[in-house]
């Protein structure tokens, strides 16, 4: 449920509104539901409203996690293969 996409804030406008950019496409959104958003921040946008700020550190951590699991998975597969050889 709830199609919402990450968008970069490119300009702050009057009355709690801002311009948000997705893939080079700009549209007006409302910042009424978030606080301390600055130009350059990424927010999750749903029905024209920013719902939350994206935490870049957490995003990086999650991406690193994918690779880490991969490394663990690959090791386990290699181990199994080694067992098979033995």
């Amino acid at each position: 449920m709830c199609l919402a996409i990450p968008a970069k804030i490119t300009e702050l406008l009057e009355s709690d509104r801002a311009t948000a950019n997705v893939g080079g496409v700009n549209h007006d959104i409302s910042l009424s539901l978030v606080e301390n958003v600055a130009v350059g921040d990424y927010v999750i946008v749903h029905v024209g409203f920013a719902l939350s700020k994206i935490d870049p550190e957490e995003a990086a951590k999650t991406l690193a996690l994918f690779d880490e699991y991969h490394a663990a998975g690959a090791r386990a597969i290699a181990d199994k293969a080694a067992e098979g050889d033995a």
């Binding site: 449920m1 709830c2 199609l3 919402a4 996409i5 990450p6 970069k8 997705v22 893939g23 409302s30 009424s32 539901l33 978030v34 606080e35 990424y42 999750i44 749903h46 029905v47 024209g48 409203f49 719902l51 939350s52 700020k53 994206i54 935490d55 870049p56 957490e58 995003a59 951590k61 999650t62 991406l63 996690l65 994918f66 690779d67 699991y69 991969h70 663990a72 998975g73 690959a74 386990a76 597969i77 199994k80």
Partner: protein
């Protein structure tokens, strides 16, 4: 596109898929796969759109849950919206998702529009309130639907309408809440009631959680012993959540984990929560398609905002429409049946000619299954 493309990386997806396979292989007998329910329609859509079932080993079975706001809205509510648009001289604004959902007598808002009703699609509730502001002599009603993600924007526009002193704007409020539905599912699943299958854990909502935080899901872990992993709608997020769920189950753990920490915090969006609390009251009970009447599972406007409540401003006759008894939407929404088990699926009921809401919404299990999932050998 930042924060989208990285989470759709095919190389990482293959690696994650290998890790899942490695983790799940041989962990369960073939007849007893890991059964995880993705609560959200957004996850259902992502799973089909990216062809994720092909990346998962046979030990993992995904059950599609009720988290599609379009699908869970009972027919009577669609009829009420159609009635509003047809009986009164007003402009009914709604999201594109609602336009084709069948009400009684095979009518829909799209068909009502074709017959002359003034129904307009909006991308944001902000557009509805602006329409009212720009056309003071025209009555404008916003047909509000959706879970906690979609609710705070409605709260904002109600307050905005009040601040602007609008006399021609109201909201037909049909916002519903996730935790009561989750609790209903946990109970039914534990008791095997209503055909709800047992599940080993839940893929938790993405953007609902951005608002309500991770705490409301604790009950699944503490009272029902089911792990929950809150995760994003991108395919790598979904795969990662599945991997985390398998690991929890194998370790005999049941906790709430947050894979979507880049957008979701434990406490959620406190500002949005406060706005919701300010504008809305709990309804005593609300009907969900598939789950029936659930106490305290939906919202209405507070009396203080009664001037903006379409239910107070316009008299509506209760709908007498009956759902097609052969339509299995209700069972599909609670995970009791798969779309292919419905006799109407792909024969009488197709996206061009939908009988049930699950065939309309792109998040609906039937539409996703029909548009993306059919295979010639099935």
């Amino acid at each position: 596109m930042k924060y989208i493309d990285e989470f759709r990386d095919s190389g990482l997806a293959q690696k994650l898929a290998a890790a899942i396979k490695n983790e799940a292989q041989g962990a369960r007998p073939a007849a007893q796969p890991f059964r995880f329910m993705e609560f959200c329609g957004g996850h259902t859509h992502a799973i089909f759109r990216f062809g994720l079932p092909d990346l998962l080993p046979p030990e993992i079975k995904m059950i599609h849950g009720p988290g599609c706001p379009v699908c869970v809205l009972p027919m009577a509510k669609i009829d009420a919206a159609i009635q509003l648009a047809q009986r009164y001289p007003l402009t009914l604004c709604t999201y594109g998702d609602m336009m084709r959902v069948p009400g009684g007598q095979r009518l829909s808002l799209l068909k009502a529009k074709a017959a002359g009703a003034d129904v307009r699609m909006v991308l944001s509730p902000h557009d509805a309130v602006m329409l009212a502001k720009d056309n003071p002599s025209r009555e404008v009603v916003f047909f509000a639907i959706g879970f906690e993600t979609t609710t705070p924007p409605t709260a904002v526009i109600v307050k905005q309408a009040q601040a602007l002193g609008l006399k021609n704007f109201s909201v037909f409020c049909n916002h519903v809440l996730t935790p009561p539905a989750l609790k209903w599912l946990l109970e039914a699943s534990a008791e095997g009631a209503d055909g709800v299958p047992p599940s080993d854990g839940f893929v938790g909502p993405s953007h609902v959680s951005a608002i309500i935080g991770t705490r409301p899901y604790e009950i699944a872990a503490t009272a029902y012993g089911k792990p929950v992993v809150i995760t994003g709608f991108e395919p790598l997020d979904v795969l990662q959540a599945i991997l985390m769920l398998v690991r929890q189950v194998k370790a005999g753990r049941a906790v709430v984990e947050n894979e979507y920490a880049r957008a979701v915090t434990a406490e959620g969006n406190v500002k949005a929560q406060a706005l919701m609390a300010e504008v809305f009251d709990l309804r005593d009970t609300f009907e969900w398609r598939g789950l029936g009447w659930i106490p305290h599972s939906a919202l209405k406007l507070k009396d203080a905002y009664g001037a903006f409540d379409a239910e107070k401003r316009f008299a509506l006759e209760p709908s007498t429409a009956k759902e097609n008894p052969a339509c299995q939407c209700p069972a599909i929404l609670r995970g009791a049946k798969s779309p292919e088990e419905c006799k109407l699926f792909g024969t009488v009921c197709t996206p061009e000619n939908p009988i049930g809401a699950c065939m309309v919404s792109s998040e609906g299990g039937c539409a996703a299954c029909y548009s993306y999932g059919r295979r010639k050998d099935e």
